[in-house]
Symmetry: C7
Subunit: 235 residues, 7 copies
C-alpha cells in the first residue's frame, strides 16, 4: 500500500461513494473494483461472423446443480451477459436488462439494440457511484450481442462502458488482456476464437487448468449456442 | 482474527452495509453471516422422486408448544422452507414468500415455480445489502419444491442463490457439506435420503444426537409429509 | 462484562439497531432486553380448560388509582396481554393489537385468531430492529387467548414469537421458567394453575411476597375474569 | 454522578433518543426529565366531589401580565391541564389536546372522555422517544377532568401515564409526593384539599412561601373555578 | 465559562438542537440566545390608551436608506413587531405573520387577534427547536397590538411567549428590564411612556445616546404612528 | 485568527450551517462570506434621476468572449443585478429572479417592484442558512432598479437585505464603502456618479487600474444602457 | 501541499460538498477538479466560419473498438461536446443534453440555441455542488455549436460556464491555454485552426505526439465533419 493511500484512509476519504479524495479519486469505487478481481474470469471475443464469451466456473461442486453454476446469462435471444464480482448485484442488473429487453420488444416489436441495453445498465451503475444512501454495484459486466454485426461491450463499476474486439473481466484480467493484445486478430473464425480463449486460460491457470471448468455462450446470426466442458473442444 | 481484519475494524469499514473495505469486502454482510452459524442446522436432499429437508430443533423445552418449535415452514402445498439465523427476519421473508405464492395462484390459477419465489426473496435480501437505512436480513434460507421435478435452493445473506442436489445451512454447515459431498449420490430413494441426513447429524453431534431433536418436511409429487422425532425412523 | 463486549462497545458496534457486531450480534437489541428485566414479572399458564396470566404490580402506591396499576390488558373479549419493559412502548403495541382485533371483527364478523394478532404485533417489532431512524420497541409481551382451545404466546424484542404451555417475562424470568419446567404439568385445573403461579412467586420473592401485589386475568370459554390480591386465594 | 453514568457518556450512549445504553436505559429521556425538575411545582388532588390543581408561578414579575403567568390551562370546559418543563413544548401539546377535544365534540356531540385525550397526548410523546430526527417533548403534564367522576392523570416524558388520587410534578416532586402519601385521604372536601396542597407547599418552601405565588383550577360537576393568590384562602 | 459547560461542549451535547445535555438543557437553543444579545435593543410599553415600541437602530450609515434601517415592522394596521437577532430569520417570520393576518381578514372579514398571530409564529419557532435538519430561528420578537385593549407580547427562541405590561429585547435587555421594573407604572400616558423609554436608553447608553438612533411605532385605537429621531421629543 | 475561533473550529461548531457556535454565530455563514471577498468588486450608486452599477471584470483574457465576461445581468428591462462570490450560485439565483419577473408580468401585466424580486431571492438565501442538507449560497448580490424612483438593494449570505444610496460588494468592499461615505452626496448627476465610482477604483487599485477592466449598467426612466471600458469616460 | 490545506483536511472541512472551509473554499469541488486534470486534453477553436474541437484519445488499445474510443459526442446536428474527468459522469450529462435538444426540436420545431443547452447542463452541475446526498459531477465539458455564428463554451465542476474564442480542458490545460493566448488570432481559417491545435499538442507532448491519437469534430454552417488521425493533416 502506498503512503498516500494510507493517509487517505486515515483521513476517512474512503468512507463514502459520494466523497472525492484530495487527489480526485473516489476510493469506495476503487475498493469495489477489488471485489471484481475476486471473481472468476471470463473472456469475450468478436470473430468473423459471431461473438463468444468463455467463462471459468472454477472447481465443480458435486452438491451444486451444474446449470445453476453456469455464469453465462441470456438477456434476449441475441444478447448474452457474464459478470465478475458480487453475484447477487449482477443478478439484479441482469434481471433489469431482461426486463428492458422485453419492454423494447413489446413497445417496438423488434429486437433491442445491444448498446442501448448496455447503456441503461451502465446509467444505473453510474447513479450508485454518485448518490449517497447506497453502495456502488460491485460488479463488472461483459455483454455480447448480435445486431446485424457481432458486438462486445464491457461496463466497469463507475458505469463507464466501451465497445471491444476482445476483452476479459475477473481475476487476472490484466494478464489475459495482455495475451489477447498479442494474439487476437480480426477475422478469426469460431474455432480459432475458442482455441484462443482456452489457450490463454491454459497459459495462465497452468496445472489448475481443466476443460471442465469452462462454459461458453456463442452468438451467431439467429442462433445462441451454450456449451460446456469437453464439448468446447468438439465444436 | 487476522491483523488485516483488526485494521479494517479500527478504520470503521465495518460500520455500514453500504461500505466497501479496501480489499473489496462488505464487512457488515460478513458479520451477519456469523449469525447464521449460531442457528441450528438443516439438511436438504433431492432424491429419486422427491426432496426433503431435515431440521434440528435442538433440545426440547417442555414449556414450548412442540408444533411451535418446528422450523419447517410451508410456503405453498408444493414448496417448503427452513432458515438459519434471526428467526423474526426469517418469518418476515417467509410471510412474503407465502404472499407471493398466493398472488401467483390468484393471478395465473396455477402453482408458482419454486425458483421464481426464491428469486423474489433473494432480490429483497440483495437490496438490504446495498441500500442504507436498514441492516441486511440476518438469515440463510433453504427452499425445497416440486415443479414437475424436485428442486432444492439455498439463498445466502447477500441474496445470491444456487440450485443444489443436497446442501446444509446453520451450525457446522461446512462439516455437513463435506460429508454430503462424500456420501450423496443421485437416485437415492426416500429412505436412503432420510438415513443419510440422520447419519450425518449422528456423526457430527455424537453423544448429543437424539432422534427427538429432528423434524422433517418431505415433498413428493402431490404430497407434503411433515414428520418428527422417532417417526423419522419408521418412514 | 466480557472483554469482547467491552471491545465491541469501544468500536461502536452497539450504537445502532441496524449494525451487526463482528460476532453477528445486534447489540442494541441485546441492550433493550435489559430493559425488560427491569420490569416486574408476569407468569402465564395454559390449564385444562383455560389460560391465565398472573402479574406482579410490585408495591402499592396509595396515590395511584388501583385499576390504573393493573398491568393486564384486554385486547378483545377472548385475548389478554401483559408486558415487561417500557410501559409506553407496550401501550402503543396494545392499542395497535386492539385496533387489529376490531378491524377483524368488522371485516369478518368473527373473533380474530390470537396468533394472527400476535404475528402482526411481532412483525412491527421486527421492523424496528431492522430499519434505521428509530429504536426497537423495548418490551416483551405475553398474550393469552381462547380460540376453541386456550393458547399462550410470548414475543421478544426482535419480534420472534413462540407458543407456550407456560412461560414468564420480566424480572427473574429465567428462575421462574426453571421452576415452571419443574412443576408445570398438562391438564392442571384452574385452582392448581393459580396456586402454581403464586407458589413460584412466593419462592422467589420470599419475605417481599404479598398477595396484594398480584393481578390475574383468567380466560375460559366465553368468559374473562379479572381479579386481584386476596381474591386470588378465594377463586 | 455514578462511574457507570460517566462511562456511558464517554461512549456516547446518551446522544440520541433512539439509542439504548448497555444497561437498557434511554439516556436522552433521562436527561429530559431533569428539565422537568427545573420547572415550578404543581399539585393535583381528587376530593369528594371534584378535582383541583394548585400550581406555583414562583415570584411575581411586575412586567408580566398576571393572567399570562397562570400555568393552569383549560382544555375543555371539563378538563384542565398543567405542565412542568419546557413551556413551548407544553403549549404545543396543550393546543393539540384542545383540538382533539373540539373534534370530539363536533364528531360525537358530547364531551370527550378525559383519559382518551390524555392517551392521545401520551401517544405523541411516546413517538418522540422512539423515532429519530427530533428530541422528546421535555415536559411532564397533569390533567384533571370530570367525566361523571373526578379524575387526575399524569404523563411522563416517555408517554407513560397513570391515574392518580393525588400527585405532583415539577421541582421537589418527590418530597411533595411523600407528604401527599402521608396526608392524603379519600373523601376530603374542597376546603380540605386546598388546605392540604397549600400546607405541603408551605412546609417545603418555608420562608419563600407566599400565597401570591399560587393559582388554582377547581373542577366540580358542571363548573370550572379558576382562582389565584389570597382568594385561595377564602374559598 | 463554567467547568460544567466546558465538559458539555467536549462531550458534544451542544451540537444539535435535538439533543438534551445531561442537566436537561438544550444547548443549541442557549447559544442561539447569544445572537439575540448581539442585536440592538427595543423597548415596548403598554400605556393608558395605547402601546408603543421604541427601537434603537444604532449609528446612522449615510449609505443606507433611512427607511430601510427602521426595525419596526407593520404586520397589520393594528399590529407591529420588532426583533433582535438574525435579521433574515426575523423577516421570514414577519412575512409569515403578515400572511396569516391577511388570511384571517379574507376568511373572517375582521382584524385578527394579536395573540393568535403571536401563537402561530411561536409554534413555528418551537418546531425548529425540536425537529432535526434545521437550526432554531435565532431571533426574539416583540409584538404590540390593539384588540380592544393594547397588548404587548414577547416570544423567545424556544417559542415560549408571554404577555407583558412592558418589556425589552436585544442588548442589555436585563438592565433595561430592571429599570422598567423600577419605573414602569400602570396608567401612564403616551408622553410619559416615550419619556420612560428614552430615559432608560439614555441611562444605559450614556455618552453614546443620541435621539437620532431611535424609531418608534405607536398604536392607539385606529391609528398607527411611526416616528423617528428628534420627532420623538416633539410628540 | 483569534484563539476563540480556533477553539470553535476544534470543537466542530463550524461544520454545518445548521449549528450555532457557543457565542451565537453561525460559522459556515461566516466562512461563505470569505468567498465573496474573493470576487472582484462592484459599486452601485443612486443619482439624481437614475441608478448605476460599475463592475470590475479584472484582467482581460483574450480567450474569453468579452460579452461573456461582463458581470452585469439584466433581470428585467428595469432591473439589473451584479454578484460577488461563486458565479454558478449567482447564476441560479439570477435565473430565478428573471423567472419571477416574467411571472409577475404575465400575471399582473405590469413591471414587478424591484424590492419584491429582491425579497424573494433573499428568502431563498435565508432558507439555505437554516435548513440542513445543502450549503448556503456563497454569493452577495446587488440589485439596481427603477420603479418610479431609482433604487439600490444589496443582499448578503444570510438573506438579509437593505436599501442603499450607494454601496459596494466584492474585494475591498469595506475600503470602497469608506470612500463612498466620504464622497457620496445626494443629487449627483450621471456623469458625477460614474466619475465617483471610477475615482474610487483608481484610488484603490492604483497602478493596476485600467479603464478596460470595467463594465457599467445604467438605469434611467425607460432606458437601460450597458457600456464598457473607454466608453465609460465618454458618457 | 500547503500547511493551510493540511490543517483544513485534518479539521474535516473537505469531507462534504456542502461545507465551506474557513477561507471560503468548497474543498470537495477542488478535489473533483483534480479528476479533470487526470483526463486527456481537448482543444476547441472558433475560426472564420466554423468551430472545431480536437481531442486526444491517448494511446490506441487494439482491443477497444476505435469508434468507441472517440471522445467527441454529437448532441445535435449543430452541437458537439467533449469532456475531461469521469467518463460515466460525462455520459449522463451528454445524454441529458441530447434529450433537452430533442425536446426543444419537438416543442419548437427548430434547432435549440447552444447556450441554452449549456446552461441547463451547468445548472445540474451547480445543484450537485450545493445539495448534500450526492457528489459533484467530476467532469469539465466543452461544447461547440453553430447558431448562425460558431460558438464555444466550457463548463467547470461548479457549473460556471463562459463563452470562449478558444480554450482547452484536461491534462496540461493551463499550458495549452498559455500557448493559445500567444498564437490564437481572430479570423483564422479551418486549416490554420487545425494546424494551431496540432502544433500546440506537438509542442507539449513532444516525443509522445502521434497524429493517431487525435479525433476532431468540425462544425460549419449545416455540416458536421468527424475525422481522426492522419486524415487531420489532409483536411
Amino acid at each position: 500500500m502506498k503512503m498516500e493511500d494510507l493517509q487517505h484512509q486515515q483521513m476517512g476519504y474512503d468512507r463514502a461513494a459520494t466523497m472525492f479524495a484530495p487527489d480526485g479519486h473516489i476510493l469506495q469505487v476503487e475498493y469495489a473494483e477489488k471485489t471484481i478481481r475476486l471473481g472468476s474470469a471470463s473472456v469475450g471475443i468478436v470473430y468473423e461472423n459471431g461473438v463468444l464469451i468463455i467463462s471459468d466456473r472454477r472447481q465443480k461442486d458435486v452438491l451444486v446443480d451444474s446449470n445453476s453454476a453456469n455464469k453465462i446469462n441470456e438477456i434476449d435471444e441475441h444478447i448474452i451477459c457474464v459478470s465478475a464480482g458480487i453475484n447477487s448485484d449482477a443478478r439484479v442488473l441482469i434481471e433489469r436488462a431482461r426486463l428492458l429487453s422485453q419492454q423494447h420488444r413489446i413497445t417496438y416489436d423488434s429486437a433491442p439494440n445491444t448498446e442501448s441495453i448496455v447503456r441503461e445498465v451502465a446509467d444505473i451503475k453510474q447513479q450508485f457511484t454518485q448518490y449517497g444512501g447506497a453502495r456502488p454495484f460491485g460488479v463488472s459486466m461483459m455483454f455480447a450481442g448480435i445486431n446485424g454485426e457481432p458486438v462486445l461491450y464491457t461496463t466497469d463499476i463507475t458505469g463507464n462502458y466501451l465497445k471491444y474486439n476482445a476483452n476479459a473481466i475477473g481475476e487476472n484480467d490484466e494478464q489475459i488482456k495482455k495475451l489477447l493484445r498479442e494474439k487476437y486478430r480480426n477475422g478469426m473464425n469460431r474455432i480459432e476464437a475458442i482455441k484462443l480463449a482456452l489457450d490463454i486460460f491454459r497459459e495462465i491457470q497452468k496445472e489448475n487448468f481443466s476443460i471442465d471448468r469452462f462454459d461458453a455462450g456463442i452468438l451467431e446470426k439467429g442462433t445462441l449456442l451454450k456449451i460446456s466442458g469437453a464439448e468446447l473442444e468438439r465444436v
